[in-house]
């Protein structure tokens, strides 16, 4: 009886440990995501972004089997690639985002639409850093990643948000513009309303931005 009790105790102890670890992970991820969502999108503060990117990297280092920390670290670095002041710094953050994405892909093990979407986003921001010289190569990459995201999960709303935003920011002379972007953004909005992230810590960004852009198209 006593032996059984000890085994039971050990069992409870072990699962408890695992449960606590898991809880701690979800908690830390949730905190990070909350901080990320708290960033002012119209004027992101690079310092807080660096802090958030670092946080996710720490989680990533402690949880080598999870792809999401790397994903969010990459996402924060892409945002940094947008706000950094010089081309050289932008590229350093974007290169870092790329490296993190590669690692995340390795962990995920199978094709993942969210990672493809983020790769597309990375290409878009890379293009925006030096559009005159990069539109050709990066435009191609951007489309390619979105295509492969679509082939994995055509319901991912961020695919249509990125397509819409790309049209939104492309000058009318090049076949873009707010008007052209509207139907695509509407499609994104529709997909967002049907979208439920797998868990509370899975990617769920872009809705706010879609709505802002849509408000500008009228």
């Amino acid at each position: 009886m006593k032996k059984l009790f000890t085994i039971a105790l050990l069992f409870v102890f072990a699962t408890g440990m695992a449960w606590a670890q898991n809880e701690k992970y979800t908690q830390a991820m949730g905190d990070g995501i909350k901080a990320l969502n708290g960033i002012d999108r119209s004027q992101p503060d690079p310092k807080s972004l660096v802090d958030i990117a670092n946080r996710f990297e720490r989680i990533a280092a402690a949880e080598p089997k999870e792809w999401l920390p790397k994903y969010y670290a990459a996402y924060a670095n892409v945002l940094l690639g947008f706000v950094a002041p010089t081309l050289n710094e932008k590229d350093q953050y974007l290169d870092k985002a790329n490296a993190l994405l590669k690692e995340a892909e390795g962990i995920a093990g199978k094709p993942n639409d969210e990672l493809e979407v983020l790769k597309a986003y990375q290409s878009q921001i890379h293009l925006a850093a030096d559009p005159m010289n990069r539109w050709q190569a990066d435009g191609e990459k951007f489309q390619g990643f979105l295509q492969s995201a679509k082939s994995i999960n055509a319901e991912n709303p961020r695919i249509y948000y990125l397509e819409g935003s790309s049209l939104f920011f492309t000058p009318e002379e090049y076949g873009g513009g707010k008007k052209v972007a509207k139907p695509m953004l509407e499609k994104a909005q529709q997909k967002f309303s049907a979208f439920k992230p797998e868990t509370s810590i899975h990617p769920d960004w872009g809705k706010m931005e879609t709505e802002w852009m849509l408000s500008q198209t009228n």
């Binding site: 660096v50 670092n54 946080r55 280092a61 191609e140 489309q143 009318e172 076949g175």
Partner: protein, 719 residues
């Protein structure tokens, strides 16, 4: 219930045992690094450094742990620490990772246009947006430091070298006929569309052992790997009409181009200094296929065919009428296929290619036949091994079969050359600030039955974060002009030795570069006719020949580019000085050849008007006077032509018409209508001289490019 609390106590981390960890993160010079990530590996405990590089965080770990620090662009730092004892504040020094800013690049003699390399001084787009370049690759290269402008001939004249001393190379393959067929005193355009290339590297000397058969320079052109516009394009201008179609799927793409050109309408509008009997008329097509069979592999197949027809009365001081009627029909085909791939995580790279070109000129001068024919088949393979610390070693080989034929007044001269070369080259980083490139090339040419061995050497040292000095030296061999070889196959290679010293600083979108050089020419072909110097540039060299010639070229050049000081304005200035003398061809004494101009200056400006979506570009080019042969002057080649000035402007405007992108462009060349003279020619009696100038003085050109359905990828079901 008690038990449950008891368990909870076990599993919750020991909150009461918090320890402080603090310190500072700096680079190796002690500068604070704000935003660095400092943490204990395997835990969530850590922090970000503040503006002073200071970090502080708490941990509940109580045993030993690994402290890690990471920062974008720096190597990760790791250190085991013991948490049992108190942790004093620590300073962590991070080492910078190798990047384009802190690693030296070998640059002596190289002038690059690239999208991929941040250190490149030009972008591929610069070639088409430079006024005066006429959207021609070599046209744009003429404005770079080290190049001399020679208005009446095609080719790149680099640092005292003739046009024949520069080879044009596409994806590693030598292009046999890079220009449209040469005409008397008319500069021919390049055959290739600048949009085909993603990168251009113009060498002003001291180039890599991978290339040979060029005494002065190589112009390396790399074709694009993929296309991004699906759909149809139309180009229309005063000289030609063309269609291009691109189609890309995931791993394959095809581009097709057809065009028809006729210069008659342009010549009706712009006064010509040349008497055209049949204005140049040409048609052509090209097809490109690209395939990515593996992750890193790219196969490219390119084929083009063109033919042209023209007829002109050119000035000829040697004929009684003072004129000579030229009729030229040209057929040209060029195909090249290249395969590149890498494996073992990029440690091995292969570049291989196969190419065939064929060119036929049916040409008559005053009814006499002067047909020209050439074909070249070549194969090339280069293997590159990436070693630790960014060091590389490459080895490769190439083989060419060249057949040339020349009809001279009914006599057909033929030449066959089987040429082979092998080369090894290594790039060694001694430190991040000091690198060297050592190469050796060996060649064999069957037509002269001779081999050569040419060493090449470059060094570069980083003198500051944005500046560096480099040095290049080497030997370069080239077969004598084939026209000499028809009659004398025992000639040796001509040789040039280069020594180049370069300093450059690239900072904040401003570039300054200065280069000085000394070039020694040896074994140049001399021709002995036993007669007076014959200045006719189209004469056939019939005299006896030896390799007894020599010469030198020395000088320096500057380049300054500023894209920063004024918003949307980009300008660059180049100045090249060269002093050169040679004893070669029919020269009886050492003299400065006619293609040398001591001073070349160009000022190029580009301004982008955001609202009007218009790019405006203006170019001023100055070329000092060149020597010309005056039979009445006792001193050989002592006379100088007047200097050549040219101001040209170009505007291009982007516009969307019904959702299609349209680019309009207009250029005016020689806007001041300067009566430039390139050289003078004398009648045989020496009494009358003719000025040779440009094909036209002030001239203009307009055209447009329409890209239909640029967004062909947005399909109906996307909505």
């Amino acid at each position: 219930m008690k038990l449950f609390y008891c368990l909870l106590l076990f599993v919750t981390p020991a909150v009461f045992a918090q320890k402080n960890i603090q310190g500072k993160v700096t680079d190796h010079k002690g500068n604070a690094l704000p935003g660095a990530n400092v943490f204990l590996k395997g835990t969530y405990d850590g922090g970000t450094t503040d503006a002073n590089g200071i970090f502080a965080f708490q941990t509940s770990e109580s045993d030993t742990a690994t402290l890690a620090a990471s920062y974008v662009g720096f190597e990760v730092f790791e250190k085991k620490i013991n948490l049992k004892e108190g942790i004093p504040a620590m300073t962590i020094k991070l080492e910078e990772l190798a990047n384009e800013l802190n690693t030296v690049v070998i640059t002596a003699g190289a002038f690059e246009a690239s999208d991929e390399k941040r250190m490149a001084m030009l972008k591929p787009l610069d070639i088409v947006t430079t006024a005066g370049a006429a959207a021609d690759i070599t046209g744009a290269m003429q404005f770079l430091p080290g190049a001399q402008r020679v208005g009446e001939q095609e080719g790149l004249f680099v640092r005292g070298g003739s046009g024949q001393e520069t080879k044009i190379v596409i994806d590693g393959m030598i292009v046999q006929n890079p220009f449209f067929s040469s005409l008397p005193d008319v500069q021919s355009r390049g055959r290739f569309n600048p949009f085909m290339f993603k990168g251009t590297s113009f060498s002003t000397g001291g180039y890599s052992a991978q290339y040979g058969q060029a005494l002065s320079s190589v112009l390396l052109l790399n074709t694009t790997d993929k296309i991004s516009n699906n759909g149809l394009g139309i180009s229309l201008n005063l000289a030609n009409a063309g269609l291009n179609y691109d189609y890309a799927s995931k791993n394959q793409s095809v581009s097709a181009v057809v065009y028809y050109g006729n210069l008659r309408p342009l010549f009706k509008l712009v006064k010509q200094n040349v008497e055209w009997i049949h204005a140049p008329e040409f048609k052509g097509s090209s097809l490109t296929y690209r395939w990515k069979p593996t992750k890193n592999g790219v196969l490219k197949v390119y084929g083009m065919y063109s033919d042209s027809h023209l007829s002109m009365d050119s000035k000829d001081p040697f004929s009684d009428s003072g004129k000579m009627r030229l009729v030229l029909k040209n057929n040209n085909a060029f195909t090249t296929s290249t395969y590149t791939d890498s494996w073992a995580d990029g440690r091995w790279t292969i570049n291989s290619g196969l190419s065939y070109s064929r060119n036929k000129d049916n040409m008559t001068y005053d009814g006499a036949n002067f047909d020209r024919f050439d074909e070249r088949t070549q194969a090339r393979i280069v293997l590159t091994r990436l070693l630790t610390g960014n060091n590389t070693v490459l080895f490769g080989a190439e083989a060419h079969a060249i057949n040339i034929g020349n009809g001279v007044n009914g006599t057909l001269y033929r030449l066959k050359d089987r040429y082979a070369a092998a080369f090894v080259e290594s790039e060694i980083y001694i430190t991040r600030a000091l690198a060297g490139r050592v190469g050796i090339r060996s060649e064999y040419s069957s037509v002269i039955s001779r081999a050569n061995v040419a060493p090449r050497l470059s060094f570069a040292y980083k003198t500051g974060r944005y500046s560096q000095i480099s040095l290049a030296a080497g030997q370069f061999y080239q077969n004598p002009d084939y026209r000499y070889l028809y009659l004398n196959k025992s000639l040796k290679y001509e040789r040039a030795d280069h020594l180049i010293l370069n300093y450059q600083i690239i900072k904040n979108q401003r570039t300054f570069r200065v280069e000085t050089f000394y070039k020694n020419y040896a074994q140049l072909v001399r021709e002995f006719t036993g007669q007076k110097y014959d200045a006719d540039p189209y004469r056939f060299p019939w005299g006896t020949t030896t390799n007894g010639g020599d010469g030198y070229a020395r000088g320096f050049d500057f380049f300054w580019r500023d894209q920063k000081s004024i918003k949307n304005l980009d300008y660059w200035v180049t100045y090249s000085f060269v002093d050169s003398k040679r004893l070669f061809q029919q020269f009886e004494q050492s003299a400065t050849p006619t293609f040398i101009s001591n001073h070349n200056i160009s000022l190029i400006t580009k301004k982008w008007f955001e609202k009007a979506k218009t790019n405006l570009s203006a170019t001023y080019a100055f070329t000092s006077g060149r020597p010309y042969y005056n039979p009445n002057n006792e001193e050989f080649l002592k006379d100088r032509t007047p200097a050549v000035h040219n101001v040209s402007i170009q505007a291009s405007k982007l516009q969307s018409i019904k959702g299609n992108l349209v680019i309009f462009y207009a250029t005016v060349d020689n806007i001041l209508n300067t009566r430039n003279v390139f050289t003078y020619r004398y009648t045989p009696d020496g009494k009358t001289r003719y000025a040779v100038g440009p094909q036209s003085y002030r001239s203009f050109f307009v055209g447009m490019q329409i890209m239909l359905s640029k967004k062909a990828k947005v399909e109906k079901d996307d909505f």
